[in-house]
Every structure is written in C-alpha cells, then in structure tokens.
Amino acid sequence: MTDVTDTADAPGREERKGRTPFVVRLVRQPAGAIGLAIVVALVAIALLADQIAPYSPIKMAAGRPLTSPSFEHLLGTDEFGRDMFSRIVHGARLTLQIGLIAVGISLTVGTLIGLVAAYAGGFVEKLLMRSTDVVFSFTETLIALAFVAVLGPSLENAMIAVGIAGVPFYARTCYASALGEEGKPYFEASIAAGAGHARLLFLHLLPNVVPTMIVIATLGLSNAILAAAALSFLGLGAQPPTPEWGAMLSAGRDFFNRAPWLMLYPGLAIALTVLAFNILGDALREALDPRSKDRS
C-alpha cells in the first residue's frame, strides 16, 4: 500500500490545516467582538422588548410629558408622556425588522438573480445583468420615492422600496462571486461528475457564495436601516404611533430646543445599530478574507 501519511507532501499547504474556526477568528478581532456583542444585545432587546420595557411604547401619559431623563423614565418622556426608553426598546424590534425584511428582499432576489445569471450564461445572463445595471443607476432614494409616490407612504412600502433598491447591488456581488466559483475547477468537476442544475446551483454554488453574501448583508443592513429612517424622516415611512427610530427622530426635532433628548436617543440608537452592523460586517469580511487566514 502507498504510504498513507504522505509525509513528503507539501507542507506549504499545511497552513490550511488547523485553521482556527471562523467564529473564533471573528471574535478575536476586537471589532468583531464588539460588533457581535452589540448586535446580539440588540437582538436580545428586540426579542425581549415586552419584558425589558417598563411601559407600553404607545401608552400615553405613562409619565408627565417631556420630563427629562430620570430614574423613573431612564430616557425621559416624549410630548405625550410616553416613556422614551420603552419606545426605543420597542423601536429596536421594529428597526431590526425593517433591516431584516429590506435586506431579506434584496438578498433573496439579488442572490437568485446573481446565481441564475452566472449559472445560465448567454442571453439570460445578459438580460438579467443589464437590467440590474439599469436599476442600479436609479439609486435607492429614487426607487423608494417612486414606490411611495405610487402606493402611498407606509412602513411596509418603505421597506419594500429599500429592499428592491438594494437588489442590483446584491445581484452584482453574488454574480461576481458566483462567476468566480464557477470558474473554479471544483465546479467543473461536479459537472463532470454529472451533477444536475439543481445540485450545481444549490449544493455547490449557493453555499460557496453565501459567506460573501452574509458580509454584504451585514453591511447592507445598516444601509437599509438608514434609508428607511430617512424615508420616515421625510414622512414617507413609518406612521404614528409606531416607535420607529427614524420617525421618532423626525418627531423629536420639534423639541430640538426644549427636550433635546427626544432627538438624541433615537439618533444615537440608529447610529449605534448602524455602527454595530458596520463593524460586524467589516470584521466578518476580515475573518473571511483568505489573506487573514492565519493571523494570531
């Protein structure tokens, strides 16, 4: 029998052995750890909003109107005496939902388009990629505006609009990534092994573009949250009494002088969330980057 251990085989490739697990590599970066921690905390807050929030987010006169932060109302109250802390906490749920749904739309549609375009090639590829190119130059805001112009302002419409606007970017990224994977011999090896379309698309291509798409989605989440907040700010998004942060920020500007915390907290909440997803996304990218594979 041939020597099983194959001792002489390239130790140069050895570094791929014992590669540290992905999550470990992620949290080893301070940014990754911080980003992940904040995101996990946000998700926990969103899930446990009912338990965490001391008051109902929409119940008026939970306290006196416009009281400044105090022990009773950690972040003060708004002009209706609603507890700001409770609103921010519930807003986390909503904001994450917005982000997830919008990104969910972009991600699914974009990935599908990208995959199919890369896989099918030929006319289908050209058609799909050219049309996403066309949508690309419309910009997010324009699509959102057109959408809201037609269907009227609402949070759902804003989410869908932001989602659609994101599609081209996801499609392009996925397309490029899938093309790269397709060009790798393992893909052809599977074709040669006789794998059918579904197998190639969903067992080989998809899992291999997923890491890239996850990074994009994490970064995209922050984008989507900001875009939806901007729409709310313009009055094209969430409708009252929904405690959406962008809408809260927008409502709070009437009290810019009298009760600055009404703008400060939603603003900070948006910034913190966006920040967390951004640094998490960056850290993910770093952790997935082959060049960083054996960093200590």
Binding site: A8, R13, E14, K184, Y186, A192, G194, D294, S296
Partner: protein, 568 residues
C-alpha cells in the same frame, strides 16, 4: 570575502512563542559574480530568505535573529533610508509574476527611468538613453517607442525582460531572482534564462536564483543551496550536488526529477484496446458577440482529430494558450464544439444533454491542475468522492460509503479520511482525492489537465506513479495535458503537440521526443532545461537554427514514420 554573507538568519511571523520560524538559522554566502541557486520544496522559506535581504518581508514577517552582511555592512542594522539607497542601486530583485510586477497605470518608460533618476541622479534625457540601451540589450526592438507603452501592451516574456532591464540598468552588485521563469512557457523560459546569464556575466553581477526546477538549476548555477522546512539541508558546488547528493532530502529531490533521458514508455503496437475517445475535426472559437459591439472570435481549437484507446496515455503538449485545456474540456463536454464530433465509448456526445450526457459522464472523468481548487471547500472528502455515485443513482448510502472507503484506499489514502475537509489535507493528498473521485464511476478514460504541475517534484512523482499503476490495473485511458516534456516521457504512450489550436505533430512518445519532425516540436524540446549540470549548454537541437513557420502556411498531414504524423 563574499559579497553577501548571511548567518543564523531566523524569520518568523507573529509572536515568537506561538509560531515557529519559517526560516530557521540559515547561513548563506554569495561570492562576487557567482550564481547561487536556492532550491527546495514549496514553503521551505526560499522567498522569505531572499526578501529579508532587501528588507521587504511581508507585513508581519520579522527577522528574529541573524546577520546579513552585504559588502561588509549588516543590512539588518540599516535604517529605512539607507536600505532604500542599497535597494535597486546595489541589489536588484526580480519576481515570479511578470504580469503583475509592473504598475499598470505608468508607462514602461516612466518605470524604467525612475530608479535611475533617484539613485544616479541622472537627468531625464540621460536616463532615457540608458533605459533604451538596456531594453535593447534584452532583445526588445524599437525600444524608444516601447518606452511610451503601458505594461498591458507587453506579453509576459516581454514584461519579464523589462523587469530585467529595469533591475540591471543600475548595474547592481547582486541580483535576486525569485522564480523568474516559472510563469513562462519553456521556450520563453529558455530565452529569459539565457538573457539573465549573459547580463549577469557581462556586468559581473552576482545572482541569487530561487527556483524549484532542477533543470533550471543545472543550467544556471555555480553553487546550490538546498532548503527544507526553513533550514539549509545541503549546500555545495552544482555539479557535485547533482553527481553525489549528500542529504537524504536532496537525494529524494533529485531522484524525483523526471528527465528527458528516462526511457519513454514503450508499448508494442496493438497493445491497446478499442477507441474510448475520438475527436473528429473538432473546432471551438471564443469571443465574438458582445452585447453592443461585436468582437472578433478567437479559434482556440481548430479542426483537431484524435483518438485515445483503452489502456493508453495520450499526452497533449504545447505552449500556453495553444488550446490544450480547451480540447480537454471539449472531450469532457464541459465546452460545446462549434464543429466536428466527439465520440466517447462509442457514443456521440456532441449533441447530448441532460440524462444522456450524465450517462456518458460515467465513462469519462477529469482531474484538474490545482487539487485544492478542484475540491468544493464546503464538501467533506467523502461527500466529494460520493458525488458522482449519488448523481448516477442506483446505489444505497451504505454501499456508497463502503465504496468511498475502498476508493480512498485505492488512491493511497486511509478510508478514515472520508470525514476530513479539503483544507485539512496536503496538496498531494488532495490530488489523490481528486483521482479517487474520478475513479468513482469506473470511467474508461480520464482527462487530466496538468494534474501535477501545482505539486512539488517529489509529490509529483508519486502521483504519476499512482496514475500509471491504476492505468495498468484497469486498462484506463488518459488524455494527459501538460507542458512539461519530462512528465510526458514518464507517462505518455503517444504525444500530440498543439500549437494555436492545431495538432502539429502526433506520434509515439519515443518517436516524437527523440525524433521530433515538426520545427515547433523541436523548439519545444530544445528549450527544455536538462537537469544535469554536466551537460549544460548542450542542446538537443540548436535552438537558434529552428525556424518555426507561421501557422498559416501549414496545412497537410504528412506521415513521417510509423504512426507518426506532422502538419506541414
């Protein structure tokens, strides 16, 4: 005194405690005017050693201890500014990748003159003159005009010449060349090596040549330093080492080097079975179309006819871009033919699709060049090997699992490895997995596209042995694509030489390699370095005499011997 005197050089990445050094106490001296070859397997620390001399170690690489004396001065103690005055001016460096080593947005001229301006404070005009002279010496004609061009307008070989001109223009005392020809075709490699040797001799420059190609070493080196695992295992005079290697590793290394002097595989006529793969005037072009503007198509394969019989290895050789891989892919039906027919195991697969195609794929399988890339990183080894069987259907899980184990063992691996992921294997092991996968459905023929060229010589030899063993046991046929003529000699029964999409010579391996009739074949063979310093300079055919005719004039197939044809 030696020009360069390195002692106790230790280089590591990251923290000393956790990560072992990649270069470990290396001693190395280079005399004035001397050509020293640094050899060793991949990852042995050759490049790191060289880069540490010019202080260009990658970001996190650090010299942990040691001394690098250059012209009597310790380079490790130099400040950044001082090091920069040495770099380029006294020590030149050439890298492996000619395609990416030049800045794509600056003209060749700008890149050639800037070092002259910086180091020698020459005027623009003077440095231009020097640059032109240097370029001309490297054999690039119309150099004055060429200065205004950008790198993308140059071929790989020309870019490497530019690099050499750039580095030699300052007449450095030492030139370091890290795998300067690995990315190039053999014919161009030969020219570049000749150029390097001439320039080094003329300017009395010392050369540290890093390579893993023993042929190149034998052609060029005065002295050889062999590295393994970060340590120098042997060093000595070139001829001496080739004649009587001392270290165990060196011996294995040299033994594994295939040479053109090995006896070719010979098999008597009629020893092979029926035809398992037949290509009939197959053509394939790329390009054309374009969404808005049409592009001129490129004929990658142009009316090729070939037959491979059971139990036979047909090697396909030729320079880069000649269409070898495309031909292999056409045979696999990974690419569709424009014209002609592909017949596999008696069945015309040219117009097949879907189920029919999948059935045929049980008869023909493929092995790729890069063993790592050819395995889905997210599939375990077992799953990868099982895939063809699952796709073919009919077998239950247990049977498949058993067969995966058997195949692994057949390929020289342990059945227990099925659960491992590709990144947990070495390069050679990965290629064995790829072979096991190819064997999974009992194919009649395997198309192997440069299956060993990403591997170290020693591993390469083992893989070739395995392939031969399998072939003999099961009457497998191989369409073996390579550019390495020594490998051809080792494994092929017959050889087809490709050039610009056409087969220009076809015949038994022994005939083609020993009595090449087509000038192109002869130039290929002439360019292949001989891994024997004793026969340095001796060429099978004087390269200069060979004039390869332009392809347009070639046309007719002509038999020039027993089963030996050329296109003339």
């Amino acid at each position: 005194m030696a020009l360069v005197d390195i002692s106790g050089l230790t280089i590591g990445f990251g923290a000393e405690e956790t990560l072992p050094p990649v270069v470990d106490g290396v001693d190395l001296a280079i005399g004035k005017g001397e050509i020293v070859a640094l050899v060793g397997e991949s990852g042995s620390g050759k490049s790191m050693t060289a880069l540490s001399i010019v202080g260009l170690l990658p970001e996190r690489g650090k010299v942990r201890s040691g001394r690098i004396l250059f012209e009597g001065e310790d380079l490790l103690k130099c400040g950044d500014a001082q090091l920069r005055s040495v770099r380029g001016a006294r020590i030149g460096m050439i890298f492996q990748e000619p395609m990416t080593s030049l800045n794509p947005v600056l003209t060749i001229g700008e890149q050639l003159v800037e070092a002259l301006i910086v180091h020698e404070k020459l005027s623009q005009a003077e440095s231009r003159k020097r640059a032109i002279a240097m370029l001309e010496r490297t054999g690039i004609d119309d150099a004055a005009r060429r200065l205004r061009q950008y790198p993308h307008e140059f071929s790989g070989g020309m870019r490497q010449r530019v690099m050499i001109a750039m580095m030699m223009a300052l007449k450095p005392a030492l030139l370091i060349a890290d795998e300067p020809t690995t990315a190039l075709d053999v014919t161009i490699q030969a020219q570049i090596l000749d150029l390097l040797r001439d320039m080094v001799r003329d300017l009395d420059t010392s050369l540290l040549l890093i390579t893993h190609d023993m042929g190149v070493v034998a052609e060029m080196a005065d002295r050889v330093v062999v590295m393994r695992g970060g340590k120098v295992v042997e060093e000595g005079d070139c001829t001496a080492i080739f004649a009587a290697p001392q270290a165990d590793y060196t011996r294995r290394l040299l033994a594994a080097v295939p040479t053109l002097d090995d006896p070719p595989r010979r098999v008597g006529a009629g020893a092979f079975g029926s035809s398992v793969l037949r290509l009939e005037t197959v053509s394939r072009s790329f390009g054309g179309g374009g969404f808005f503007f049409a592009k001129a198509p490129l004929k990658a394969v142009d009316g090729v006819s070939l037959t491979v019989r059971a139990g036979e290895t047909l090697a396909l050789v030729g320079e880069s871009g000649s269409g070898k891989s495309t031909l292999g892919r056409l045979a696999m039906r990974l690419e569709t033919v424009d014209e002609g027919r592909v017949v596999v195991a008696g069945e015309d697969i040219t117009r097949l699709s879907g189920r029919g195609l999948r059935r045929v794929r049980r008869a023909i399988q493929m092995i790729f060049q890069d063993p790592y890339a050819s395995l889905d990183p997210r599939f375990s080894i077992g799953r990868t090997i099982a895939e063809p069987m699952i796709v073919a259907g009919g077998a239950d899980r247990r049977k498949i699992r058993e067969r995966v184990g058997a195949l692994l063992e057949r390929a020289g691996l342990a059945a227990a490895m099925a659960g491992r992921m590709p990144h947990e294997l070495s390069g050679g092991q990965r290629q064995r997995v790829a072979i096991a996968r190819a064997l999974a459905v009992n194919p009649r023929i395997i198309v192997a596209d440069e299956p060993t060229s990403a591997l170290d010589v020693s591993v390469q030899a083992k893989i070739l042995d395995l392939m031969i063993e399998l072939q003999e046991a099961e009457a497998l046929a191989y369409l073996f694509i390579t550019h390495d003529l020594a490998v051809v000699r080792r494994i092929a029964h017959r050889v087809a030489v490709m050039r610009k999409g056409r087969i220009v010579e076809l015949g038994a391996a022994a005939d083609v390699l020993e009595r090449p009739r087509h000038p192109y074949t002869r130039s290929l063979i002439a360019a292949a370095p001989v891994p024997d310093p004793a026969r340095r300079g001796e060429r099978r055919h004087a390269a200069a005499e060979i004039e390869v005719p332009a392809l347009e004039t070639a046309g007719e197939w002509r038999a020039v011997g027993d089963e030996h044809w050329i296109l003339a």
